[in-house]
């Protein structure tokens, strides 16, 4: 979709939604000014009029939002509202689902990631992702962390590298240590880096996944409900880590837990049923004085 007709559809869209109702119930109008929030700082991601269809299912309807860098942006909303779909558009993980079709633009530092000729390897190196359930590889802790750099050829290990004298064990060690330190896991695993990662607890596995993502040196970290499979103590460790990471990285986190969003995020986007972005603002504003009645109902637990 070209940039020139971006303004028109926004107006049309809101008009259309005021009239049309989903499943027979009257849906409150989503006013564009509720979502045209301007956060401070540089814009990392500029998403404009993003539509996603899974086959006949319209999962995301004309979402536009700017995500500022070096901050935590929380995406909240009920199940099936499209927040994970939105997240997966930012690093094009939706490409892995055959039936998904994406319209609109997603600009990372001013470059559209959906234009032709985008190098997915480069994109995903810059935009890392952490998944809902911890998914370390069935390899040693060390191999898990250095997996990305090794596969990208940034670190050479293996027999041939050793034979030709190109192996850099010290650099690998340093990278593993740095990444694990950054993910607040180093002290717990420094003495067993060669153990299988599947032997770690769930919370440790999730922090290992974050370390694995950090080892590639991304600019953005996407997190899809990173703590939903964890116990409260592990969750609070992950939350501390998210706040800490936001000093150096742009963090976008999808969560079911409104408390979590309120605790860790700088700005919050609320998606509601039907795949629309209803309100996007400072986290404080969203949780204390939302503009939309639907958002207020959702936050106070009356809906959703």
């Amino acid at each position: 979709m070209s940039q020139t007709d971006a303004a028109e559809p926004v107006a049309n869209r809101t008009d259309g939604q005021g009239v049309s109702t989903t499943a027979g119930e009257t849906v409150e109008e989503t006013r564009p000014e509720w979502t045209s929030y301007e956060a401070g700082g540089e814009t990392k991601f500029a998403v404009d009029d993003l539509d996603v269809h899974y086959g006949d299912d319209h999962a995301l309807k004309g979402v536009s939002m700017d995500i500022p860098e070096r901050s935590v942006t929380a995406l909240i909303g009920p199940s099936g509202c499209g927040k994970s779909t939105f997240l997966r558009c930012l690093n094009r993980m939706n490409d892995r689902i055959r039936a998904a079709s994406v319209d609109g633009t997603v600009e990372l530092d001013g470059e559209d990631v959906y234009q032709d000729g985008v190098d997915l390897v480069e994109l995903r190196k810059r935009v890392g992702m952490v998944f809902q359930s911890p998914n370390p590889f069935p390899k040693s802790i060390r191999e898990n962390v250095s997996y990305g750099p090794r596969k990208h050829g940034d670190i050479e290990t293996g027999l041939l590298a050793r034979l030709t004298g190109r192996a850099e064990p010290d650099r690998e060690e340093a990278l593993v240590e740095r990444s694990l330190e950054r993910a607040a896991l180093w002290e717990e695993v420094s003495d067993r880096l060669d153990d299988n990662a599947l032997g770690l607890s769930g919370g440790q596995q999730q922090r290992l996944c974050i370390a694995r993502c950090l080892a590639v040196d991304p600019e953005v970290i996407l997190m899809d409900e990173p703590a939903s499979a964890l116990d409260p103590i592990a969750t609070s460790k992950i939350e501390d880590l998210i706040e800490d990471l936001a000093q150096d990285y742009t963090v976008v986190v999808v969560t079911h837990s409104m408390q979590q969003a309120a605790r860790v995020s700088d700005q919050t986007a609320v998606f509601l049923t039907g795949g629309e972005l209803v309100e996007y603002d400072d986290t404080e504003k969203i949780f204390e004085n939302p503009e939309s009645q639907r958002v207020e109902d959702y936050i106070s637990g009356k809906f959703g």
Binding site: L120, G128, F131, F137, Y147, D195
Partner: protein, 522 residues
Amino acid sequence: MSRATRTALVRDDRTLYEAVAGTAVGLSGVAFVVGLTALLGLVGIDDPVAGVGLSVALGALLLALGASVVGFGMASRFGFVDAAPQPSAGIVAAVAFTAIWGAVGAAASGAAGVGTGGRLALGAVLGGTAFAATAFPREDVGSTAPAGALAVLCGLSLLTGLIAPGWERALDGYNATLFGDTVVPAVVLFASLVTGWSAAKAYGGFGARGRNVGAYVLIYLVVGSILAVLVGLVAFVAAKGLPGLFNGFSLGGSGLVSWPFLTSGAGLTAEVAGVFPALLGTIWLVAGAVLFAVPTGVGAAVFLSEYAEQGRFTGAVEVATNGLWSTPSIVFGLFGAAFLIPRFGNQKSLIAGMLTLGFMLLPLVLITSREAILAVPDEYRDASAALGVSKWQTVRSVVLPAAIPGVTTGVILGVGRIAGETAPILLTMGGGVLPAKSAAPDVLGSFRLSASPPFVSNPSLLEATSALPYQLYALITAGLSGNIQNPQEYAWGLALTLLLVVLAFYAVGIATRYYFRRKLHQ
């Protein structure tokens, strides 16, 4: 709900009854094991036990077991013990006893010389009675009385010598005769299975718990008999084959170990005839087939499950591979003979055999590898893709390592099948019946480089070569004669060697799988 109608959680007033029932279960197990060993010929059925023949002793045991089983049912029925029987023994037990007693009736009247109509009538009468006795009374009687009566009948017929070791009976209409030394163990096995089940139900106090215990005993006895057959088979071959295998074996001397059966051929000059050429032939054959089938099969599996779009094409390939796996080996052999032999020097050769067996192995490697690759969780692929790692790198460094244990399982199964194949080798590889040591393939040593295409040649691969199963077959059809001293002993030694080679391949495969599993899950 009043307290009085509640069943106590802990029942403590059945200890004597339980002890007796438990003993009955144990004795049924003993009778089952003795029957099994007798059936396998490990003990004679008329060997003396406590002054009488084994057959008579077993008869007495069955009689006692039958009587006690009926006793358990009665004790429960008339309230001497605290059991929890259900209203009926159930339709499965009723149908089973109907069939058993119907067969007993037909067989007994047949033995008594009654005609076909009479047999059917008696079978129907006994079957109907058994059905009524099982289905209509309460569970404690229904599942003990028909079982106990059957054991009593079997016990009496053994005790009185109605069926005895010397007994034999020609079956009319069939060219076959039943002998006592087969029928007696079979009767004991069968009756002990029934009393074991029934006594176990009594031990559990009938009801849900009794059925549970009964099913356990039944399953354990059946599993035990399967294991016994396996062990018996290996033990039989080992007992027959060990003298041949260790013919001329000695430690020390010139070499450290001298094992002529495995290291010499069967030529005229060999002091002790051995199986070396065929042994080496089998090892090369399996190695060649695995070298051909594993890379191609795993590669095809990777393509089908990671790259190809799941749909009609992959479905058709799946149907075709399943069909190939069930294709009879002689058909593969014919293909090898008609297609490969003309292309490899127009004679039976080692390489034709390797490729034919490779073709046979390919579908199984493909099927199991595909299953193993599909079983690798998608989370690994997502995690790898999210790190910006390309698809092929992901397949190579995450998916394939996680699939290796499954792939190895497929290769193990396949090697077990092809190592013992005779028909394809007969048609494609040939070799002598009693090859001399010089006929052994020297694959590694006969690679030759040449200046003209194909630049590398290996005459050893193009020669007819013997393999263990083929040599065994050839020996049997040749009538076990020839220049070797003891053909019987030689052939059994050969069979044992083949068994050990297959087991060794298994062991290597299982060790590989274990190693990779450990690596994946520490």
